[in-house]
Amino acid sequence: MTPPRTRHTGPAGGAGPHALELRDITAGYDRRAPVLRGVSLSLREGEAVGLLGPSGCGKSTLAKVAALLHRPDAGTVHLGGEPARGFRHRAPRAQRTAVGVVFQSPRLAADPRLTLSALIAEPLLATGRKAGAADRTRELARAVGLGPDLLGRRPHEVSDGQLQRACVARALALRPRVLVCDEMTAMLDASTTAALVAVVEDYRARSGAALLAVGHDRTLLERWCDRTVELHGGGTDSALRSAPRAAAGTSAG
């Protein structure tokens, strides 16, 4: 049932440039005990990689490093072949916004004071794209299946699924080259999960963006991604094992 796994060494085959390349990343919240040690991972342009691992193995930390939101203790990040010139606010805006992020809990990832439309428009306004922001917001909302009646509401007035749709729209607002989805669907029901994965895949099909999907649901990630990578135990022997996408024809239709 499960395809055989091979030791992942270096970038997976294929010539094209890497949309995202993480080299020898050591990272964590305490220098003496990093959760990740010497982890490397690369995504080709347009490739979808699923990152699997048990709770606490550091996969969310790796996702934050990839999104330039957490400075690693050691190692380098390359985006589209360019080395990342910093992390968080030290990263140039163009690099930061080249990666779109969706988090696990929409409740924590949404500013409780903003309406859904303000939430979706926030990256547009933050980067000075005020002109056309309203149109783009409506377009994004439509893409994730949010009707105009929901856009005026605040996070506490919508369900988790609706709020996560808005968060996905926000992540797509600046047309990122790489999407990082950290447990995007862990709190969602099956239908909303399938709907949001379809939204992400639709965007990728049109834009050619790469995807790093982090999660613990093997079935989901194997179905969703081109290949899955498993992160083991963080700590001293963070190791990645890679597996290609399960054979085609997983679709039952």
Partner: protein, 349 residues
């Protein structure tokens, strides 16, 4: 609606359903909102739960399933209006206790923890961060059993053991526990009172697959000891693993109530919504149900699922009643479906 059509055992009664531990009839919860708006969070829910049986209540977030759990525990806020009945019956008890009409003092003193154990959604938040697991467990044991001194120490250890919480972790604080151990600590607290009914509200949210499996297996083991387990979850895989019967909730109503093997295997779900939900799983066709669930404050007339349903017809303008385990005017039959069981087995080929 008459209670007869609601009675689940006519559909899918397990052997013991003749003496249900919990019988819920015509449970309806309305929230009065500012501006006179009314939110129909739960409508006309009826279900039975027998000792040793696990019923999984599944549905999307916002379908009313957590409100149902809160109603059973008497934890609804002041603007909620509850009607119907939810009778909790001990063995050999003729009348039982209606959880919906019981006063707060009764619920606090004799029901919560003693007759209904709650396994919480987020164990980390359920445990007090500034006290060790041992002290919290001991407090609950003392509160519920009156044990003191050496007896209390022993009872605390037993209580931890019952939820497979390792004794050498008892002196840790909640933040020092992994997600799985925190879940076990919370389960241990829920089990202290030896309550015959366990209510688990999304007990696996945020846990990884292995932990989900272990958590539900442990809950199943407690069920097999003769407790009734009502598990509320959006995780269909977890429901399949643990449940004897499945109740699917949509827009505040139970739209399908079926034995788990029938639901997940052959003939499969008969309500189009339940079918769609199951088909959305990545191991099946991975296609979402079009649209989004309706607002509970603004439900369409008639069947709430009709606007999203490809089988909808004129008859769907009236609200279908739950008969024969499904609340649908045009339910799917096994023949009409595309053989979900076969597909499931072959999904990885």
């Amino acid at each position: 609606m008459s209670a007869d059509t609601l009675t689940p055992e006519t559909v899918a009664g397990p052997p013991a359903a003749a003496h249900p531990l919990l019988s819920v009839r015509e449970l309806t919860v309305r929230f009065r909102m500012r501006g006179g708006r009314e939110v129909a969070a739960v409508t006309d829910v009826g279900l039975d739960l027998a000792p040793g049986e696990c019923l999984a209540l599944v549905g999307e977030s916002g379908c009313g399933k957590s409100v149902l759990a809160s109603a059973l525990l008497g934890l609804l806020p002041g603007n909620a209006h509850v009607s119907g009945s939810a009778v909790l019956r001990g063995p050999g008890e003729a009348d039982g206790l209606d959880l919906l009409t019981a006063d707060e003092a009764t619920l606090a003193r004799t029901v919560r923890g003693r007759r209904v154990g709650l396994v919480p959604q987020s164990p980390a938040a359920h445990l007090t961060p500034v006290r060790t697991v041992r002290s919290q467990l001991a407090e609950t044991v003392r509160e519920l059993t009156g044990a003191r001194g050496e007896e209390l120490r022993a009872a605390t250890l037993t209580a931890a053991g019952r939820a497979a919480f390792p004794a050498d972790h008892l002196d840790r604080y909640p933040h020092q526990l992994s997600g799985g151990l925190a879940q076990r600590a919370a389960t241990a607290l829920a089990l202290v009172g030896d309550a015959p009914l366990l209510l688990a509200d999304e007990p696996t949210t945020g846990l990884d697959r292995d932990l989900v499996d272990r958590t539900v297996d442990e809950l199943r083991a407690h069920t097999d000891e003769g407790r009734g387990l009502l598990i509320i979850t959006h995780d269909l895989a977890a429901a399949e693993r643990v449940a004897d019967r499945v109740a699917v909730m949509y827009a505040g109503r139970i739209v399908e109530l079926a034995p788990a093997p029938d639901f997940f295997g052959t003939p499969g779900p008969r309500h189009p919504y339940a079918r769609g939900l199951l088909e959305a799983l990545p191991e099946r066709s991975f296609t979402p149900i079009p649209g989004m669930p309706p607002e509970l404050g603004d439900l369409p007339a008639g069947c709430a699922f009709a606007p999203r349903c490809d089988r909808a017809a004129d008859v769907c303008a009236t609200v279908p009643q739950l008969t024969g385990g499904v609340a649908c005017h045009r339910p799917l039959t096994a023949a009409a479906g595309e053989g979900p069981a076969a597909r499931r087995e072959g999904s990885r080929v």
